[in-house]
Symmetry: C2
Subunit: 201 residues, 2 copies
């Protein structure tokens, strides 16, 4: 494009290749960065360039970490008998915010035949080997409540049929603050199935 | 936040400070970058860090440029008698795409008493000095059709009252592809005022 310095144009092109950022947002971001403090630009730039430096997969939970075993795995104050399985590191962060204080295992995705992702492309064997070694009382399957997540949970439960520990799945139901009127059929029927006794205490 | 490596968390924090990027988009972007090609990360990072290196304001049109006078100002094939005034470099890019082939002047913003921006904070004197030196036949005021842009156009027109050259303003009216039913009153009345004779040729 004629009219902008090459460097600015290059940045706009790079930014607009990121997911969720269109050409207009990329332009706005580039001009915002042009006007911002050089130290901030430097910090953001370096953060991106060096993003993967020193980041490893934890050998125990397979999460992204700075050391292996990671901070969460090497924290003895956490409940060592409960293991919660998630698809991605961000799912772990979300669960961690909810107040869960047990162990984790990050699969690195979900089984998806359409995208060619089978158990071998995930940290699935790492999970099974771990379950042989560690004395777990409960395995919580916290994969996403969608087709791929359900299939993954189903696969794990089947592979572990007859195991000593309890296997559970996160409850399905109405999200807090939701409107019954707009809830979808499947969610409502799951919420009904999973109804719990209730009393004013 | 516990559960993510410091470096990843830092990047998420930095990204979520950018305009239009919330914490969730920042997380998604950071994980996208984690998974992407190291060369691409390096390129984007360097583009941001070195964004302003070698970028100057053109002494003639005040646009961002790699050299002064800039490519546009030093192109003798452009109409040297028409000067178009815009607020920002991106406005110039938009006009350039429309096929305009005259000269430009970038003000660097618009007059806005609310934000404390007066003519002195803009490249306004540069414009007036330029108009004394250069033999212009028409000055097109292409500031934005909003309060600040109109005020800026008005200010320039007043300062130049009695000048030899023609002063014009971009037409207001219905945008192409618009729906009359949904057009606002002001736009419609401007479109009526600016109506042009029409014949099937």
């Amino acid at each position: 494009m004629y009219g902008l310095p090459r460097r600015v144009q290059d940045l706009i092109d790079e930014l607009s290749r990121l997911p969720g950022i269109g050409p207009k947002s990329a332009e706005r971001l580039a001009f915002y960065l042009l006007r911002s403090d050089p130290a901030r630009r430097e910090k953001l730039g370096t953060s991106i360039s060096l993003l993967r430096e020193g980041i490893v997969a934890c050998e125990r939970c397979c999460n992204l970490a700075e050391a292996t075993p990671c901070e969460l795995c090497s924290d003895p104050s956490r409940d060592q008998e409960t293991l919660l399985v998630v698809e991605e590191p961000l799912d772990l962060v979300a669960i961690e915010k909810s107040g869960y204080r047990g162990l984790y295992h990050v699969l690195g995705g979900a089984i998806s035949p359409v995208e060619g992702i089978g158990p071998d492309q995930l940290f699935m064997n790492e999970l099974f080997r771990r379950l042989e070694r560690e004395a777990i009382a409960e395995l919580i399957l916290a994969t996403n409540p969608n087709l791929e997540g359900e299939a993954t949970a189903m696969y794990i439960a089947r592979e572990l049929a007859g195991c000593e520990f309890r296997i559970s799945r996160l409850a399905h139901g109405l999200p807090m603050g939701a409107d019954l009127e707009y809830a979808d059929q499947v969610t409502l029927s799951r919420a009904l199935e999973g109804r719990r006794s209730f009393s004013a205490s």
